[in-house]
Amino acid sequence: MTTATYMLEVKGLEATIGEDEGITQILKGINLAVKTGEVHAIMGPNGSGKSTLSKIIAGHPDYRVSKGEVLFNGENILELEADERARKGIFLGFQYPVEIPGVNNAEFLRMAYNQRRKAEGKEEADPLDFEEILDAKMKTLDMDGRYKERSINEGFSGGEKKRNEILQMAILDPALAILDETDSGLDVDALKIVAGGINRLRGPGKAIVLITHYQRLLDYVQPDVVHVLSGGKIVKTGGKDLALEVEKQGYDWLVK
């Protein structure tokens, strides 16, 4: 089997943060392989390295990869900048989306959308056409038109920020979406809406990695594979039953 059937392959990934005395190893040899069309869930205790893994895949400059590789559609992407990876179709839904006062949400979305189109060799979208696309996507996420006028995430509630992440995902239509605790802080109705957004992306040619602490998201978005990450390593991989197991018993039985 060639690696090309995998959309994402993480091989023996070790990563550190800081320098000299302050250096900390966070990832200690992660192996992960996600096939096209699959949904994987990653669970794990606080501080185990889930967000670190997702940020390294997205190209965050703070972390240093000391070993291993990350392949996206068979290509090693570790040398690529974050924006280049994004334009290739990698999307990270942040656990803590930042607020960016002064940058208009809708304008930003249009810029990002056009960058993606440019990367695909398409023309920039006509602003009015884009507005239509945006309005339609916002409707499916039950988002008020006012969000277009506001600055990125500025003053958004926790749940609103997460919904805005899903909106961005829907607009950019990435091949690989890594969603870092997008379900945290959502009420039941919002959870259903966000899950709907994720399910709409799901399909052939796409892959989704859900980082979550809770089974309840997985009730709406059924994962094909579940991993438990602990101490910078994947300690267990299983089917969707593993998530139920974790929900019932916690992580102790896996970590020991």
């Binding site: 900048e81 994004a86 960016i100 930003f108 960058q115």
Partner: protein, 502 residues
Amino acid sequence: MTEAAAIAPKTMFMREPPHPAITPSQEAAIPRWIAEGPAALADIRTAAFNALKKTGLPHTGSEDFSFIRVGEFLPHLGPPAAAANPATGAIAPTAGRLPTQADIQGQLVAEARGSYLVLVDGTYVPELSKPGNGFQVSTLSRETLPADLRASLVRVAAEETDAVAALGMVFSRDPLVIQVAAKAVPAEPLLLLHFHTGSGVRSDAFILYHGGKLSEARVLARHASLADSATPPGAVATGSMENVHTVALLDDGASLKFLEAGAGAQSAGAQTGTAGSGENTVNRDIHFRKLTARLHRDSRLLAISAHTGSRLTRNSFSVDLAGEGAEAEVDGATVLTGNRQSHNFVRIRHLVPHCVSRQHFKSVAADQSRSSVDGTIYVAKDAQQTNAYQLINNLMLSDEARADSKPQLMIHADDVKCSHGATSGKLDPAQQFYLESRGLPPLQARALLTVAFIAEVLEKAGKSGEAGATPGSDGFRDILDHALLDTLKNRLPAASEGERHA
């Protein structure tokens, strides 16, 4: 004894030895320039000249020129070519050519298509101008000002402590006078188009704005250079110095919005293709701009200056709150790249109770650029219930850039609300990563964040489409935006390795 003899021994122009700005013989010519000039200007020119004699030329250590190397502009302070020989002091551009209709059309903005004045090297050119309804436009030698207005103007000249502004008032050929009658509210703003023609030219513009009781008006100013095309092929253009002093006298209840897009923001060529690109010329040039405002009861002033600096740019604001209930806001938005400089000098004086003043200066400094804000809020002993604040925010895009802030409060009243603060920071790497993770190239992400940083100030100019602005893509706010954004797009350096992995 002649006036010249009286001042010659004092060597006031000689304090910076390497750059004798004005030779004694040139200095001696000034009284002649005044005597032989229009009689209607003599009192103001004399008052300014006396003020200049009192102040002396700027020297190293001059408090008014903090953060500026005086030697950088001192050589430009001699009399303009025409003034040295009063016989040739006819009103005509000192060099180069007049702007063409295409040059002018290229500088117009949507809100003021039918309401603009053209100044060439500081001198008003009525033939090329088209003042909008509600603005009475004239020059000081032709207009008989009401006695009290004239007295106010002479007083401004007499009390001038800024040597460069005083020089401008001495040498301005025929000050422009703009009046808005009591209760008049011109529908369109008035656009002042400053064209600069030449290399090595110093131009002095002196502008009086008088807002009558309860009048309400907007004045926009733009600067463009015609210099590149004026320089003969092969000749080396040397920088010119532009010195603009605007005096705004606001009667009771008058309101004025005064917005200025600095040179560096636009050149005639960049817009119309008819004149030279202007970029290099603008960068070589020195710009001194001063707004002196005197606010009477319940009057309002909003002054915003947005620009991209030059070899040396100095914006000075001197605002007197002289009537109860007056409100002044003075803001600046600056984006500096290369080795450009921009220095802001602000003096707000609360002379009476119940006035409000606000200042917000935002500067972006990239490369080896330098910016500074030296701002003082003065509150007189009787000016109780004063509300004043000043905020200076600097965004540093390079370790080699420099931004100095000198906020000061001088408060002599006891029942006041005054605050000031200054911050200096870099772009937030988390915000930058967020934008990049959505596919925006680093340069675009940085430009976007940088514009967001100064947007807060630009917002105050009013969005196009808002009341008073014509919807469209070339509103003045957009021009400010584009001017600053273009600078960023073209010349903003990418993040250095060290910065990204710090």
